[in-house]
Protein backbone atom coordinates (compact mmCIF):
# COMPACT_ATOMS: atom_id res chain seq x y z
CA UNK A 1 0.00 0.00 0.00
CA UNK A 2 2.81 2.41 0.87
CA UNK A 3 4.59 1.41 -2.28
CA UNK A 4 1.43 1.84 -4.30
CA UNK A 5 0.75 5.29 -2.89
CA UNK A 6 4.32 6.37 -3.63
CA UNK A 7 4.40 5.08 -7.18
CA UNK A 8 0.88 4.95 -8.50
CA UNK A 9 -1.30 6.81 -6.02
CA UNK A 10 -4.13 7.05 -8.53
CA UNK A 11 -4.58 3.28 -8.19
CA UNK A 12 -5.77 3.62 -4.59
CA UNK A 13 -9.55 3.74 -4.19
CA UNK A 14 -9.40 6.78 -1.92
CA UNK A 15 -7.47 8.86 -4.44
CA UNK A 16 -9.90 8.62 -7.28
CA UNK A 17 -11.71 11.71 -8.43
CA UNK A 18 -15.10 11.97 -6.80
CA UNK A 19 -18.15 11.97 -9.03
CA UNK A 20 -20.39 15.02 -9.16
CA UNK A 21 -23.44 13.85 -7.26
CA UNK A 22 -26.82 14.67 -8.73
CA UNK A 23 -29.42 13.13 -6.50
CA UNK A 24 -28.91 9.65 -5.11
CA UNK A 25 -26.30 7.63 -6.94
CA UNK A 26 -27.70 4.30 -8.08
CA UNK A 27 -25.06 1.64 -7.65
CA UNK A 28 -25.35 -1.96 -6.52
CA UNK A 29 -25.39 -2.41 -2.76
CA UNK A 30 -24.59 -5.59 -0.94
CA UNK A 31 -26.95 -6.31 1.89
CA UNK A 32 -26.75 -8.65 4.88
CA UNK A 33 -23.67 -10.21 6.47
CA UNK A 34 -23.53 -12.21 9.68
CA UNK A 35 -20.70 -13.65 11.75
CA UNK A 36 -20.82 -16.04 14.70
CA UNK A 37 -18.05 -17.40 16.90
CA UNK A 38 -18.11 -20.88 18.36
CA UNK A 39 -15.55 -22.87 20.36
CA UNK A 40 -13.84 -24.23 17.21
CA UNK A 41 -13.54 -20.92 15.38
CA UNK A 42 -15.78 -18.47 13.61
CA UNK A 43 -18.35 -18.59 10.81
CA UNK A 44 -18.98 -15.74 8.39
CA UNK A 45 -21.92 -15.79 5.99
CA UNK A 46 -23.70 -13.51 3.60
CA UNK A 47 -26.78 -13.54 1.42
CA UNK A 48 -26.35 -13.37 -2.34
CA UNK A 49 -28.35 -10.33 -3.32
CA UNK A 50 -27.13 -6.95 -4.56
CA UNK A 51 -29.73 -4.21 -4.95
CA UNK A 52 -29.79 -0.93 -6.81
CA UNK A 53 -32.63 1.08 -5.36
CA UNK A 54 -35.68 -1.12 -5.78
CA UNK A 55 -34.07 -3.27 -8.43
CA UNK A 56 -32.24 -6.50 -7.74
CA UNK A 57 -28.89 -5.81 -9.38
CA UNK A 58 -27.47 -9.29 -8.97
CA UNK A 59 -28.84 -12.51 -7.54
CA UNK A 60 -25.60 -14.38 -6.99
CA UNK A 61 -23.15 -11.76 -5.81
CA UNK A 62 -20.34 -12.96 -3.53
CA UNK A 63 -19.74 -10.94 -0.43
CA UNK A 64 -17.61 -13.26 1.70
CA UNK A 65 -13.92 -13.44 0.83
CA UNK A 66 -10.85 -15.05 2.32
CA UNK A 67 -8.50 -12.31 3.53
CA UNK A 68 -5.65 -14.74 4.05
CA UNK A 69 -5.28 -18.28 5.33
CA UNK A 70 -6.73 -17.56 8.79
CA UNK A 71 -9.15 -14.74 8.23
CA UNK A 72 -12.04 -13.65 6.10
CA UNK A 73 -13.73 -10.41 5.27
CA UNK A 74 -17.34 -9.91 4.23
CA UNK A 75 -18.75 -6.60 3.19
CA UNK A 76 -22.06 -4.79 3.02
CA UNK A 77 -22.56 -1.51 1.23
CA UNK A 78 -21.47 -0.37 -2.21
CA UNK A 79 -20.45 -3.56 -3.95
CA UNK A 80 -17.93 -2.12 -6.39
CA UNK A 81 -15.96 -0.19 -3.78
CA UNK A 82 -16.26 -3.00 -1.29
CA UNK A 83 -14.87 -5.63 -3.59
CA UNK A 84 -12.04 -3.30 -4.53
CA UNK A 85 -11.29 -2.68 -0.88
CA UNK A 86 -11.25 -6.40 -0.18
CA UNK A 87 -8.90 -6.96 -3.10
CA UNK A 88 -6.51 -4.34 -1.81
CA UNK A 89 -6.78 -5.72 1.73
CA UNK A 90 -6.00 -9.24 0.54
CA UNK A 91 -3.05 -7.90 -1.42
CA UNK A 92 -1.70 -6.06 1.58
CA UNK A 93 -1.86 -9.05 3.88
CA UNK A 94 -0.17 -11.25 1.31
CA UNK A 95 2.44 -8.62 0.54
CA UNK A 96 3.29 -8.17 4.20
CA UNK A 97 3.52 -11.92 4.65
CA UNK A 98 5.92 -12.34 1.75
CA UNK A 99 8.14 -9.37 2.51
CA UNK A 100 8.36 -9.89 6.26
CA UNK A 101 8.26 -13.67 6.19
CA UNK A 102 5.58 -13.71 8.88
CA UNK A 103 1.87 -12.95 9.01
CA UNK A 104 0.30 -9.95 10.70
CA UNK A 105 -1.44 -10.57 14.00
CA UNK A 106 -5.23 -10.71 13.85
CA UNK A 107 -5.39 -7.34 15.64
CA UNK A 108 -2.95 -5.94 13.11
CA UNK A 109 -5.10 -7.08 10.22
CA UNK A 110 -8.23 -5.65 11.85
CA UNK A 111 -6.50 -2.28 12.40
CA UNK A 112 -5.30 -2.20 8.84
CA UNK A 113 -8.84 -2.71 7.55
CA UNK A 114 -9.98 0.07 9.86
CA UNK A 115 -7.57 2.51 8.20
CA UNK A 116 -8.75 1.47 4.77
CA UNK A 117 -12.39 2.13 5.67
CA UNK A 118 -11.48 5.51 7.11
CA UNK A 119 -9.75 6.46 3.87
CA UNK A 120 -13.10 5.91 2.17
CA UNK A 121 -14.86 8.37 4.48
CA UNK A 122 -15.38 11.13 1.90
CA UNK A 123 -17.06 8.63 -0.40
CA UNK A 124 -19.15 7.33 2.50
CA UNK A 125 -20.35 10.89 3.15
CA UNK A 126 -21.69 10.95 -0.40
CA UNK A 127 -23.62 7.77 0.17
CA UNK A 128 -21.01 5.31 -1.05
CA UNK A 129 -20.32 3.56 2.22
CA UNK A 130 -18.62 0.22 2.66
CA UNK A 131 -19.12 -1.55 5.97
CA UNK A 132 -17.36 -4.87 6.36
CA UNK A 133 -17.11 -7.53 9.03
CA UNK A 134 -13.70 -9.03 9.61
CA UNK A 135 -13.41 -12.44 11.23
CA UNK A 136 -10.52 -14.76 11.79
CA UNK A 137 -8.84 -17.39 13.85
CA UNK A 138 -6.43 -15.82 16.33
CA UNK A 139 -3.46 -18.16 16.13
CA UNK A 140 -1.88 -16.73 19.28
CA UNK A 141 -4.97 -16.97 21.46
CA UNK A 142 -6.43 -20.06 19.80
CA UNK A 143 -9.94 -18.73 19.24
CA UNK A 144 -12.17 -17.19 16.61
CA UNK A 145 -12.79 -13.44 16.75
CA UNK A 146 -15.09 -11.01 14.97
CA UNK A 147 -14.57 -7.30 14.32
CA UNK A 148 -17.20 -4.91 13.05
CA UNK A 149 -16.70 -1.42 11.68
CA UNK A 150 -18.60 1.77 11.13
CA UNK A 151 -18.12 4.09 8.14
CA UNK A 152 -15.50 6.16 9.97
CA UNK A 153 -13.32 3.12 10.46
CA UNK A 154 -14.30 2.74 14.10
CA UNK A 155 -13.49 -0.83 15.02
CA UNK A 156 -15.15 -2.91 17.69
CA UNK A 157 -14.72 -6.51 18.61
CA UNK A 158 -17.94 -8.46 18.92
CA UNK A 159 -18.32 -11.37 21.27
CA UNK A 160 -20.63 -14.10 20.11
CA UNK A 161 -22.26 -12.78 16.97
CA UNK A 162 -22.42 -9.75 14.72
CA UNK A 163 -24.35 -8.56 11.68
CA UNK A 164 -24.16 -5.67 9.28
CA UNK A 165 -26.05 -4.45 6.24
CA UNK A 166 -29.67 -3.56 5.62
CA UNK A 167 -31.09 -6.81 7.02
CA UNK A 168 -28.74 -6.87 9.99
CA UNK A 169 -31.40 -5.73 12.46
CA UNK A 170 -33.53 -8.80 11.79
CA UNK A 171 -30.56 -11.13 11.55
CA UNK A 172 -29.25 -9.90 14.88
CA UNK A 173 -32.66 -10.40 16.47
CA UNK A 174 -32.76 -13.97 15.23
CA UNK A 175 -29.24 -14.72 16.41
CA UNK A 176 -29.93 -13.19 19.81
CA UNK A 177 -32.60 -15.82 20.38
CA UNK A 178 -30.73 -18.74 18.89
CA UNK A 179 -27.12 -18.19 19.89
CA UNK A 180 -25.44 -20.22 22.62
CA UNK A 181 -21.72 -20.28 23.30
CA UNK A 182 -21.33 -24.05 23.02
CA UNK A 183 -22.53 -24.59 19.47
CA UNK A 184 -20.80 -26.99 17.09
CA UNK A 185 -19.70 -26.04 13.58
CA UNK A 186 -22.75 -27.73 12.13
CA UNK A 187 -25.09 -25.88 14.46
CA UNK A 188 -23.43 -22.55 13.79
CA UNK A 189 -23.71 -22.91 10.03
CA UNK A 190 -27.41 -23.65 10.51
CA UNK A 191 -27.71 -20.65 12.82
CA UNK A 192 -26.31 -18.23 10.23
CA UNK A 193 -28.68 -19.56 7.57
CA UNK A 194 -31.60 -19.12 9.98
CA UNK A 195 -30.47 -15.54 10.67
CA UNK A 196 -30.14 -14.75 6.97
CA UNK A 197 -33.52 -16.31 6.33
CA UNK A 198 -35.09 -14.02 8.93
CA UNK A 199 -33.30 -11.04 7.43
CA UNK A 200 -34.60 -11.93 3.97
CA UNK A 201 -38.04 -12.45 5.46
CA UNK A 202 -38.33 -8.85 6.65
CA UNK A 203 -35.85 -6.91 4.53
CA UNK A 204 -36.65 -6.62 0.84
CA UNK A 205 -33.00 -6.01 -0.05
CA UNK A 206 -31.81 -9.30 1.41
CA UNK A 207 -32.14 -12.46 -0.64
CA UNK A 208 -33.23 -15.76 0.84
CA UNK A 209 -32.12 -19.20 -0.38
CA UNK A 210 -33.16 -19.52 -4.02
CA UNK A 211 -34.04 -23.17 -4.58
CA UNK A 212 -35.11 -22.71 -8.19
CA UNK A 213 -31.80 -21.17 -9.27
CA UNK A 214 -29.73 -23.06 -6.74
CA UNK A 215 -28.35 -19.92 -5.17
CA UNK A 216 -27.57 -20.37 -1.49
CA UNK A 217 -25.91 -18.22 1.16
CA UNK A 218 -22.12 -18.17 1.11
CA UNK A 219 -20.73 -19.64 4.31
CA UNK A 220 -17.07 -19.48 5.35
CA UNK A 221 -15.70 -21.37 8.33
CA UNK A 222 -12.38 -20.31 9.84
CA UNK A 223 -10.84 -22.50 12.48
CA UNK A 224 -7.53 -23.99 13.46
CA UNK A 225 -7.15 -25.45 9.96
CA UNK A 226 -7.65 -22.10 8.33
CA UNK A 227 -10.23 -20.71 5.96
CA UNK A 228 -12.74 -23.03 4.30
CA UNK A 229 -15.72 -22.07 2.23
CA UNK A 230 -18.61 -24.49 2.34
CA UNK A 231 -19.26 -26.12 -1.01
CA UNK A 232 -22.53 -25.55 -2.80
CA UNK A 233 -23.63 -29.06 -1.84
CA UNK A 234 -23.03 -28.37 1.85
CA UNK A 235 -24.75 -24.99 1.96
CA UNK A 236 -27.66 -26.22 -0.13
CA UNK A 237 -28.12 -29.05 2.33
CA UNK A 238 -28.31 -26.62 5.25
CA UNK A 239 -30.61 -24.28 3.35
CA UNK A 240 -32.85 -27.17 2.40
CA UNK A 241 -33.25 -28.41 5.97
CA UNK A 242 -33.93 -24.87 7.22
CA UNK A 243 -36.51 -24.38 4.47
CA UNK A 244 -38.22 -27.67 5.22
CA UNK A 245 -38.69 -26.72 8.86
CA UNK A 246 -39.96 -23.31 7.82
CA UNK A 247 -42.69 -24.92 5.75
CA UNK A 248 -44.13 -26.10 9.06
CA UNK A 249 -43.09 -23.09 11.12
CA UNK A 250 -42.78 -20.04 8.87
CA UNK A 251 -41.30 -17.90 11.66
CA UNK A 252 -38.54 -20.34 12.45
CA UNK A 253 -37.53 -21.99 15.73
CA UNK A 254 -39.25 -20.68 18.83
CA UNK A 255 -37.33 -19.65 21.90
CA UNK A 256 -38.67 -20.33 25.41
CA UNK A 257 -40.71 -17.47 26.86
CA UNK A 258 -38.99 -17.50 30.20
Amino acid sequence: MDFLSAHQPEMLPANRALPVVQGALEVPHGTTIVGVTYPGGVVLAGDRRATMGNVIAQRDVEKVFPADEYSAVAMAGVAGLGIEMVKLFQLELEHFEKVEGTTLSLEGKANRLSTMIRSNLSMAMQGLAVVPIFAGWDVDRGKGRIFTYDVTGGRSEEHGFAATGSGSVYARGAMKKLYRDDLTEEQVTTLVVQALYDAADDDSATGGPDMARRIFPLIAVIGEDGFRRLSEAESSEIARSVLERRLEQPDGPRAALL
Binding site: F3, L4, H7, L88, L91, G101
Partner: protein, 277 residues
Protein backbone atom coordinates in the same frame (compact mmCIF):
# COMPACT_ATOMS: atom_id res chain seq x y z
CA UNK B 1 52.15 4.12 -6.14
CA UNK B 2 51.14 4.18 -9.73
CA UNK B 3 47.53 5.11 -10.46
CA UNK B 4 46.49 3.69 -13.81
CA UNK B 5 44.98 6.43 -15.96
CA UNK B 6 43.43 4.07 -18.39
CA UNK B 7 41.77 0.73 -17.78
CA UNK B 8 40.44 -0.99 -20.85
CA UNK B 9 36.71 -1.78 -20.72
CA UNK B 10 37.49 -5.44 -21.15
CA UNK B 11 39.76 -5.37 -18.13
CA UNK B 12 37.30 -3.37 -16.07
CA UNK B 13 34.45 -5.77 -16.82
CA UNK B 14 36.62 -8.82 -16.21
CA UNK B 15 37.65 -7.38 -12.83
CA UNK B 16 34.06 -6.70 -11.87
CA UNK B 17 32.97 -10.16 -12.99
CA UNK B 18 35.72 -11.76 -11.00
CA UNK B 19 34.84 -9.71 -7.94
CA UNK B 20 31.19 -10.79 -8.19
CA UNK B 21 32.03 -14.43 -8.85
CA UNK B 22 34.34 -14.60 -5.87
CA UNK B 23 31.68 -13.10 -3.65
CA UNK B 24 29.14 -15.65 -4.84
CA UNK B 25 31.61 -18.50 -4.47
CA UNK B 26 32.03 -17.77 -0.77
CA UNK B 27 28.42 -18.76 -0.09
CA UNK B 28 27.00 -22.24 0.00
CA UNK B 29 25.45 -23.61 -3.16
CA UNK B 30 21.81 -24.33 -3.63
CA UNK B 31 19.94 -26.38 -6.18
CA UNK B 32 16.56 -26.14 -7.87
CA UNK B 33 15.10 -29.31 -9.41
CA UNK B 34 11.98 -30.22 -11.28
CA UNK B 35 10.06 -33.21 -9.99
CA UNK B 36 6.79 -34.82 -11.05
CA UNK B 37 4.49 -32.50 -9.07
CA UNK B 38 6.48 -29.31 -9.19
CA UNK B 39 9.80 -27.69 -8.44
CA UNK B 40 11.89 -28.23 -5.32
CA UNK B 41 14.45 -25.81 -3.84
CA UNK B 42 17.16 -27.32 -1.66
CA UNK B 43 20.05 -25.55 0.02
CA UNK B 44 22.25 -25.70 3.05
CA UNK B 45 21.35 -22.90 5.39
CA UNK B 46 22.24 -22.86 9.07
CA UNK B 47 19.87 -19.95 9.68
CA UNK B 48 16.15 -20.51 10.04
CA UNK B 49 15.22 -16.89 9.78
CA UNK B 50 17.34 -15.69 6.86
CA UNK B 51 15.91 -17.57 3.95
CA UNK B 52 17.54 -18.30 0.63
CA UNK B 53 14.23 -19.28 -0.94
CA UNK B 54 11.08 -17.30 -1.00
CA UNK B 55 7.66 -17.01 -2.49
CA UNK B 56 7.27 -14.25 -5.04
CA UNK B 57 3.77 -14.96 -6.28
CA UNK B 58 1.19 -17.72 -6.70
CA UNK B 59 3.32 -19.93 -8.92
CA UNK B 60 6.67 -18.20 -8.73
CA UNK B 61 9.52 -18.93 -6.38
CA UNK B 62 12.86 -17.25 -5.85
CA UNK B 63 16.23 -18.65 -4.84
CA UNK B 64 19.45 -16.75 -4.34
CA UNK B 65 23.08 -17.38 -3.54
CA UNK B 66 25.56 -14.72 -2.52
CA UNK B 67 25.30 -11.68 -0.31
CA UNK B 68 22.20 -11.64 1.86
CA UNK B 69 21.45 -7.92 1.90
CA UNK B 70 21.78 -7.69 -1.86
CA UNK B 71 19.53 -10.58 -2.77
CA UNK B 72 17.03 -9.65 -0.07
CA UNK B 73 16.81 -6.27 -1.74
CA UNK B 74 16.12 -7.92 -5.08
CA UNK B 75 13.63 -10.32 -3.53
CA UNK B 76 11.55 -7.52 -2.03
CA UNK B 77 11.71 -5.69 -5.34
CA UNK B 78 10.40 -8.82 -7.02
CA UNK B 79 7.55 -9.23 -4.55
CA UNK B 80 6.58 -5.61 -5.13
CA UNK B 81 6.74 -5.97 -8.87
CA UNK B 82 4.60 -9.12 -8.78
CA UNK B 83 2.01 -7.80 -6.33
CA UNK B 84 1.61 -4.52 -8.17
CA UNK B 85 1.25 -6.32 -11.48
CA UNK B 86 -1.26 -8.79 -10.08
CA UNK B 87 -3.30 -6.02 -8.49
CA UNK B 88 -3.28 -3.80 -11.56
CA UNK B 89 -4.09 -6.52 -14.07
CA UNK B 90 -4.80 -10.08 -12.99
CA UNK B 91 -3.08 -12.75 -10.97
CA UNK B 92 -2.48 -14.71 -14.18
CA UNK B 93 -0.55 -11.81 -15.67
CA UNK B 94 2.38 -12.24 -13.32
CA UNK B 95 4.90 -14.51 -14.99
CA UNK B 96 8.39 -15.75 -14.21
CA UNK B 97 9.56 -14.52 -17.59
CA UNK B 98 8.47 -10.98 -16.81
CA UNK B 99 10.06 -11.11 -13.39
CA UNK B 100 13.29 -12.59 -14.74
CA UNK B 101 13.44 -9.76 -17.26
CA UNK B 102 13.11 -7.16 -14.52
CA UNK B 103 15.85 -8.84 -12.51
CA UNK B 104 18.08 -9.08 -15.55
CA UNK B 105 17.64 -5.37 -16.22
CA UNK B 106 18.39 -4.50 -12.63
CA UNK B 107 21.42 -6.74 -12.33
CA UNK B 108 22.73 -5.70 -15.74
CA UNK B 109 22.43 -2.00 -14.91
CA UNK B 110 24.17 -2.41 -11.59
CA UNK B 111 26.88 -4.57 -13.11
CA UNK B 112 27.80 -2.11 -15.82
CA UNK B 113 27.36 1.05 -13.76
CA UNK B 114 30.79 2.33 -12.75
CA UNK B 115 29.39 4.13 -9.73
CA UNK B 116 28.22 0.96 -8.01
CA UNK B 117 29.92 -2.23 -7.04
CA UNK B 118 28.45 -5.23 -8.82
CA UNK B 119 25.98 -7.32 -6.86
CA UNK B 120 27.50 -10.54 -5.58
CA UNK B 121 24.39 -12.60 -6.19
CA UNK B 122 23.13 -15.30 -8.47
CA UNK B 123 19.39 -15.79 -8.66
CA UNK B 124 16.98 -18.46 -9.77
CA UNK B 125 13.41 -17.58 -10.67
CA UNK B 126 11.14 -20.59 -11.11
CA UNK B 127 7.51 -20.87 -12.11
CA UNK B 128 5.51 -24.06 -11.75
CA UNK B 129 3.10 -24.80 -14.60
CA UNK B 130 -0.05 -26.89 -14.81
CA UNK B 131 2.07 -29.72 -16.20
CA UNK B 132 5.83 -30.43 -15.98
CA UNK B 133 6.17 -29.11 -19.55
CA UNK B 134 4.85 -25.77 -18.35
CA UNK B 135 7.55 -25.36 -15.68
CA UNK B 136 10.02 -22.57 -16.21
CA UNK B 137 13.35 -22.09 -14.49
CA UNK B 138 15.55 -19.06 -15.14
CA UNK B 139 19.04 -18.60 -13.77
CA UNK B 140 20.30 -15.05 -13.47
CA UNK B 141 24.03 -14.66 -13.00
CA UNK B 142 25.53 -11.49 -11.48
CA UNK B 143 25.99 -9.71 -14.82
CA UNK B 144 22.33 -9.57 -15.82
CA UNK B 145 22.22 -12.36 -18.35
CA UNK B 146 19.36 -14.86 -18.30
CA UNK B 147 19.79 -18.60 -18.74
CA UNK B 148 16.68 -20.67 -19.41
CA UNK B 149 17.25 -23.94 -17.54
CA UNK B 150 15.50 -27.29 -17.67
CA UNK B 151 15.46 -30.13 -15.19
CA UNK B 152 17.97 -28.97 -12.65
CA UNK B 153 20.07 -25.94 -11.85
CA UNK B 154 22.69 -25.13 -9.23
CA UNK B 155 23.97 -21.73 -8.18
CA UNK B 156 26.55 -20.61 -5.66
CA UNK B 157 30.15 -21.46 -4.94
CA UNK B 158 30.44 -24.97 -6.22
CA UNK B 159 27.75 -24.64 -8.84
CA UNK B 160 29.47 -26.11 -11.88
CA UNK B 161 30.49 -29.28 -10.19
CA UNK B 162 27.07 -29.73 -8.63
CA UNK B 163 25.17 -29.04 -11.83
CA UNK B 164 27.40 -31.51 -13.66
CA UNK B 165 26.50 -34.09 -11.04
CA UNK B 166 22.81 -33.24 -11.26
CA UNK B 167 22.68 -33.20 -15.05
CA UNK B 168 23.78 -36.80 -15.19
CA UNK B 169 21.34 -38.08 -12.61
CA UNK B 170 18.26 -35.94 -12.86
CA UNK B 171 15.34 -37.60 -14.64
CA UNK B 172 11.93 -36.27 -15.53
CA UNK B 173 9.09 -37.43 -13.33
CA UNK B 174 11.06 -38.02 -10.13
CA UNK B 175 9.07 -38.08 -6.91
CA UNK B 176 9.68 -35.35 -4.36
CA UNK B 177 11.57 -37.75 -2.11
CA UNK B 178 13.82 -38.86 -4.99
CA UNK B 179 14.51 -35.31 -6.10
CA UNK B 180 15.25 -34.29 -2.52
CA UNK B 181 17.65 -37.16 -2.08
CA UNK B 182 19.46 -36.32 -5.30
CA UNK B 183 19.70 -32.68 -4.27
CA UNK B 184 21.13 -33.52 -0.87
CA UNK B 185 23.64 -35.90 -2.45
CA UNK B 186 24.71 -33.20 -4.87
CA UNK B 187 25.07 -30.61 -2.13
CA UNK B 188 27.04 -32.89 0.19
CA UNK B 189 29.83 -33.32 -2.33
CA UNK B 190 32.68 -31.07 -1.35
CA UNK B 191 34.87 -29.25 -3.79
CA UNK B 192 37.62 -31.81 -3.33
CA UNK B 193 35.29 -34.67 -4.18
CA UNK B 194 34.81 -35.97 -0.63
CA UNK B 195 31.36 -36.23 0.89
CA UNK B 196 30.07 -34.82 4.09
CA UNK B 197 26.81 -35.23 5.92
CA UNK B 198 24.33 -32.35 5.93
CA UNK B 199 21.97 -32.77 8.89
CA UNK B 200 18.29 -32.14 8.25
CA UNK B 201 18.22 -29.07 10.49
CA UNK B 202 20.79 -27.34 8.27
CA UNK B 203 18.73 -27.92 5.15
CA UNK B 204 16.37 -25.33 3.80
CA UNK B 205 13.78 -26.94 1.58
CA UNK B 206 10.82 -25.40 -0.22
CA UNK B 207 8.56 -26.53 -3.03
CA UNK B 208 6.32 -25.07 -5.66
CA UNK B 209 3.72 -27.81 -5.64
CA UNK B 210 1.32 -27.77 -8.57
CA UNK B 211 -1.04 -30.21 -6.77
CA UNK B 212 -1.56 -27.80 -3.86
CA UNK B 213 -5.23 -26.80 -3.81
CA UNK B 214 -4.50 -23.21 -2.76
CA UNK B 215 -3.78 -20.51 -5.27
CA UNK B 216 -0.35 -20.00 -3.74
CA UNK B 217 1.76 -23.01 -4.60
CA UNK B 218 4.88 -22.15 -2.61
CA UNK B 219 5.43 -24.10 0.59
CA UNK B 220 8.35 -24.53 2.94
CA UNK B 221 9.11 -28.06 4.04
CA UNK B 222 10.32 -28.08 7.61
CA UNK B 223 10.55 -30.17 10.75
CA UNK B 224 8.62 -33.41 10.80
CA UNK B 225 7.63 -33.29 7.18
CA UNK B 226 11.22 -32.85 6.02
CA UNK B 227 12.47 -35.62 8.30
CA UNK B 228 9.74 -37.92 6.98
CA UNK B 229 10.64 -37.18 3.37
CA UNK B 230 14.35 -37.73 3.98
CA UNK B 231 13.62 -41.01 5.73
CA UNK B 232 11.03 -42.19 3.22
CA UNK B 233 13.45 -42.00 0.36
CA UNK B 234 16.22 -43.54 2.46
CA UNK B 235 14.17 -46.71 2.87
CA UNK B 236 12.56 -47.07 -0.53
CA UNK B 237 15.17 -45.55 -2.80
CA UNK B 238 18.32 -47.04 -1.34
CA UNK B 239 19.01 -49.57 -4.12
CA UNK B 240 18.19 -47.07 -6.85
CA UNK B 241 20.32 -44.45 -5.15
CA UNK B 242 23.37 -46.68 -4.86
CA UNK B 243 23.74 -47.29 -8.57
CA UNK B 244 24.03 -43.79 -9.92
CA UNK B 245 26.08 -42.70 -6.94
CA UNK B 246 28.77 -45.31 -7.51
CA UNK B 247 28.94 -44.63 -11.19
CA UNK B 248 28.78 -40.92 -10.57
CA UNK B 249 31.96 -40.36 -8.62
CA UNK B 250 34.01 -40.99 -11.69
CA UNK B 251 31.87 -38.99 -14.07
CA UNK B 252 31.61 -35.99 -11.80
CA UNK B 253 35.36 -35.71 -11.45
CA UNK B 254 35.63 -34.88 -15.13
CA UNK B 255 32.42 -32.90 -14.84
CA UNK B 256 33.94 -29.66 -13.61
CA UNK B 257 36.98 -29.99 -15.85
CA UNK B 258 35.16 -29.91 -19.13
CA UNK B 259 33.04 -26.80 -18.57
CA UNK B 260 35.76 -25.28 -16.38
CA UNK B 261 38.24 -25.12 -19.23
CA UNK B 262 35.73 -23.57 -21.56
CA UNK B 263 34.17 -21.40 -18.89
CA UNK B 264 35.82 -19.16 -16.38
CA UNK B 265 39.17 -19.43 -14.70
CA UNK B 266 37.45 -18.56 -11.46
CA UNK B 267 35.67 -21.90 -11.40
CA UNK B 268 39.01 -23.62 -11.76
CA UNK B 269 40.22 -21.86 -8.65
CA UNK B 270 37.35 -23.17 -6.59
CA UNK B 271 37.76 -26.63 -8.13
CA UNK B 272 39.37 -29.72 -6.70
CA UNK B 273 42.86 -28.20 -6.46
CA UNK B 274 41.91 -25.30 -4.28
CA UNK B 275 43.15 -26.04 -0.78
CA UNK B 276 41.44 -22.99 0.65
CA UNK B 277 37.93 -24.13 -0.21
Amino acid sequence: MSTPFYVSPQQAMADRAEYARKGIARGRSLVVLQYADGIVFVGENPSRALHKFSEIYDRIGFAAAGKYNEYENLRIGGVRYADLRGYTYDRDDVTARGLANVYAQTLGTIFSSAAEKPYEVELVVAEVGETPEGDQIYRLPHDGSIVDEHGSVAVGGNAEQISGYLDQRHRDGMTLAQALKLAVQALSRDTNGSEREIPAERLEVAVLDRTRPQQRKFKRIVGQQLARLLEAEGASQEPAGEGPQGAGSEASSDGPDAPGSGGSKDEGASGPDDPGA
